[in-house]
Amino acid sequence: MNCRKALEIITLVLDDEATREQEIMLRFHLLGCPSCRKALEFSRDIATITRSLQAPPPPSDLETRVREMLAREDIETTVPRTKRSALLALPAVAAMLVAIFIIPRSHDDEYVACGTTILAGSMRNEPKTASVELTSKSRLTTAPLAGYSRRSSLISF
């Protein structure tokens, strides 16, 4: 057995995937090959330390954030697109109307108050789409999900 083959078997041994026969062959090779003995010992140390690495705890509000994302997605899919764009335009329309009422007719207090109340009321009933709060980076939360297909047992996005 050459060193290249021995190194392949070393990987299998470390992963408990070597056959009995492969182990015996490797053992013979190691008797006369200090370089592969070193590779085995070295890889074992790397494996031990890698396995002991611990990630910081995941964020405690993970589930809440996921559910918020799902709720936003729900709103976006249940409100028809045309209605959504109309709703998104509402603040602009409101501003224009307020400007029309306030600027030229600022003396007519009652009229203005009535106009703004109606507008504010209608905006309160809007779904949250107009002011969706994005998490830290919008590129991930708002990126459209790419076509999703499933082939045999694997999924690809």
Partner: protein, 197 residues
């Protein structure tokens, strides 16, 4: 006069299998989703941290992984291993992020040390701490197609078959990539290891 002792019942461990949880979730059991998050958040997070190289991106991809688990819950086949399905989702997201980043940046990944060396090393010794830090950096420097199978094997102790399914590659490819990852790590870490021995 005897005082009443109120013994709070410890939260019972959910003994349902992963795939049963998914079936229950599809039937409208929202608690099943909470349990899935509880079970898989840590392993998925540690893989994502190592794959992205920073906590911020890992957190976002973690969130997106569970979002997709819920959203595509009906695409999951309960006959298959759930762990492979969820890791495939996380892995695909990490790859996508990696591609997106490497298109725009050529700067190396920021190195995140997974464990605080002083508090977690069982027998604190400076050489081991140095070796641990070097190993983490070396893993981060591995090309992603070597790093991922290596991490799934070492950190998640997955079988070659499962890794092949998650990554969508052949069994032989998994073996050779893990072997190459180890060879590259030995190459990168030779000096620090010799010093530590």
């Amino acid at each position: 006069m005897s005082g009443r002792i109120i013994v709070s019942k410890p939260a019972e461990k959910d003994s349902r299998s992963d795939s049963q949880l998914m079936v229950d979730l599809c039937d409208g059991d929202e608690d099943a989703f909470s349990e899935i998050v509880r079970r898989f958040q840590s392993p998925i997070y540690s893989l994502l941290i190592r794959m992205t190289g920073n906590e911020e991106d890992a957190k976002e991809l973690l969130q997106l992984t569970f979002f997709r688990v819920y959203k595509y819950r009906r695409n999951y086949d309960p006959e298959k291993k759930f762990v492979n399905w969820i890791f495939t989702i996380a892995s695909n997201l990490a790859k996508k992020e990696w591609k997106r980043k490497s298109r725009w940046m050529s700067v190396p990944l920021e190195h995140v040390h997974l464990s605080s060396p002083v508090s977690t090393a069982p027998h604190y010794d400076a050489g081991r701490v140095q070796l641990r830090a070097s190993i983490e950096e070396a893993i981060d420097r591995l090309p992603s197609h070597y790093r991922e199978p290596f991490l799934l094997r070492e950190m998640e102790q997955m079988s070659y078959e499962d890794i092949a399914e998650i990554l969508g590659v052949r069994l032989g490819t998994v073996k050779s990539r893990i072997n190459r990852a180890r060879a590259k790590l030995r190459e990168m870490l030779n000096d620090v290891w010799e010093e530590w021995k």
